[in-house]
């Protein structure tokens, strides 16, 4: 099949790549760019592990074709913090033990970043609804919810 060339900005870096249209965005990130922080669990939209930001909104990267990102701006978990300088939300996860194996974590974080921008002081119900599209097999979700509350308070304290 005819390959197509795309220009896409990911975590502030511009990439120009020539790809097959059938390449999933999740596989593009992981295999073509080596951005393996985006995890792949189910590849049919159910688990949420592959969630990234597409023009600022959380979406499933397994349910988009990479060609569709031409001219758009993406952010993946690699764009949050670094091991030496974690993003405040990552710090909160560290503090509250919001992860165990960490498989779901990138998708959970990328779901929560815009959520916290829009809801500076969310209720527990709102938090649980926000992460309803992210499956976690380890934590039982409680520590994730705790981490979100910590992160929200950090935000309001600094503002």
């Amino acid at each position: 099949m005819k390959k197509q060339t795309i220009h896409v900005t990911i975590n502030g870096t511009e990439y120009t790549k020539t790809i097959e249209p059938r390449l999933l965005l999740s596989d593009f990130l992981r295999h073509e760019l080596g951005l393996t922080g985006t995890h792949v669990g189910c590849e049919h939209g159910v688990c949420g592990a592959c969630t990234i930001l597409f023009d600022g909104e959380p979406v499933r990267s397994c349910l988009m074709f990479a060609v569709q990102t031409d001219g758009h701006t993406l952010q993946t978990v690699e764009g949050l913090g670094t091991p030496d300088k974690l993003h405040p939300l990552q710090e909160a996860f560290h503090e509250a033990h919001g992860l165990q194996c960490g498989f779901c974590t990138p998708g959970v974080l990328m779901t929560l970043i815009p959520f916290l921008e829009k809801n500076s002081d969310p209720t527990e119900t709102e938090i649980r609804e926000a992460i309803s599209g992210n499956l976690c097999r380890c934590t039982g979700y409680q520590h994730i919810v705790d981490a979100v509350k910590i992160a929200a308070h950090k935000n309001t304290d600094t503002n």
Partner: protein, 295 residues
């Protein structure tokens, strides 16, 4: 790679999209939000030769309340837009109230009304809601268009009135009669999952509290949305007391649906849900209609 190879075409206008569909028709699949199409392509249950991506067609992304009082929704309007738009909340509050039940936030950011309506999943909320609201769909093909009522659009399991080269371009939701209460209730195993069953109700009351019009539509208790006749008729001309509402919902559940069981819910359980959800939806709609007279 998971999906089979395909040719990718991204038209930038509706005219161009119609032209492409005219050319490829049967071999092509329209790509809207991709939230139902891409999963089946990843499993290779669908292997379209041509993908026609509608995401660049800005004419289809419009949402407006026109002078006729109705709500005009372009096929590419996303679920999240319907969920948060003040226009939708004002003109079609039933839609706004239902949207949080449609999948998860990340899916709603991509999924579109046109994709959901055309996909015709029996467990989807929007088809049943559009039947309840008596919406009309505008289907366009190169050189022509036709209007189809939501209730006629759904023909069989995953089958609609759409022809291969047609595009669903717009949905028009007519205004509701004054003093109409609305409600939607469903039961799903987890928030955002497809529902095991759901019910939408609309009830219009006059100032003495007599029911002038009633609609009760179910999802996932048949292959297509089920619009009840007898249950709704039982309320019209009467004062809808809790007992009458309960009896109407029982009629619907016992006589007007023919659910098939699946791994999540047996047919009996779905009948039970239909009775309970129908009652809740009608009751809340009646309460809201009464409140509209009080305020």
């Amino acid at each position: 790679m998971k999906p089979a190879p395909f040719e990718y075409i991204a038209p930038q206008s509706l005219a161009e999209a119609l032209d492409v569909m005219d050319q490829y028709g049967y071999d092509a699949k329209l790509l809207a939000g991709g939230q139902s199409l891409i999963p089946v392509m990843n499993f290779r249950l669908a292997q379209p030769a041509v993908i026609v991506d509608l995401n660049g067609v800005s004419e289809l992304a419009r949402l407006s309340a026109n002078g006729d009082g109705g709500l005009h929704i372009g096929a590419m309007v996303r679920h999240s837009q319907l969920e948060h738009s003040p226009t939708v909340a004002a003109k079609a509050p039933l839609v706004a109230e239902t949207m949080p039940h449609v999948a998860h936030p990340q899916i709603r950011n991509r999924g579109t009304i046109g994709g959901s309506l055309a996909h015709a999943d029996p467990a989807a909320e929007l088809p049943a809601i559009m039947v309840a609201l008596q919406a009309r769909f505008r289907l366009q093909r190169m050189g022509g268009e036709r209007w189809v009522h939501a209730v006629d659009f759904y023909q069989a399991l995953f089958t609609t009135a759409l022809e291969p080269e047609e595009i669903l371009v717009e949905i028009v939701v007519p205004p509701l009669p004054a003093h109409t209460g609305y409600a939607f209730h469903e039961v799903a195993r987890r928030h955002g999952d497809f529902a095991q069953a759901g019910a939408a109700a609309l009830v219009t009351l006059d100032k003495r509290g007599v029911c002038r019009e009633a609609r009760l539509v179910y999802l996932n208790v048949g292959n297509i949305p089920v619009q009840t006749q007898e249950a709704a008729a039982a309320l019209v001309g009467a004062t809808p007391t809790p007992d009458l509402i309960k009896a109407a919902a029982q009629t619907a559940a016992q006589k007007e649906i023919d659910p098939a069981g699946d791994i999540h819910a047996s047919a009996d359980y779905k009948r039970h849900l239909a009775a309970v959800l129908g009652q809740r939806a009608l009751q809340q709609a009646v309460t809201r209609a009464k409140e509209s007279w009080a305020s």
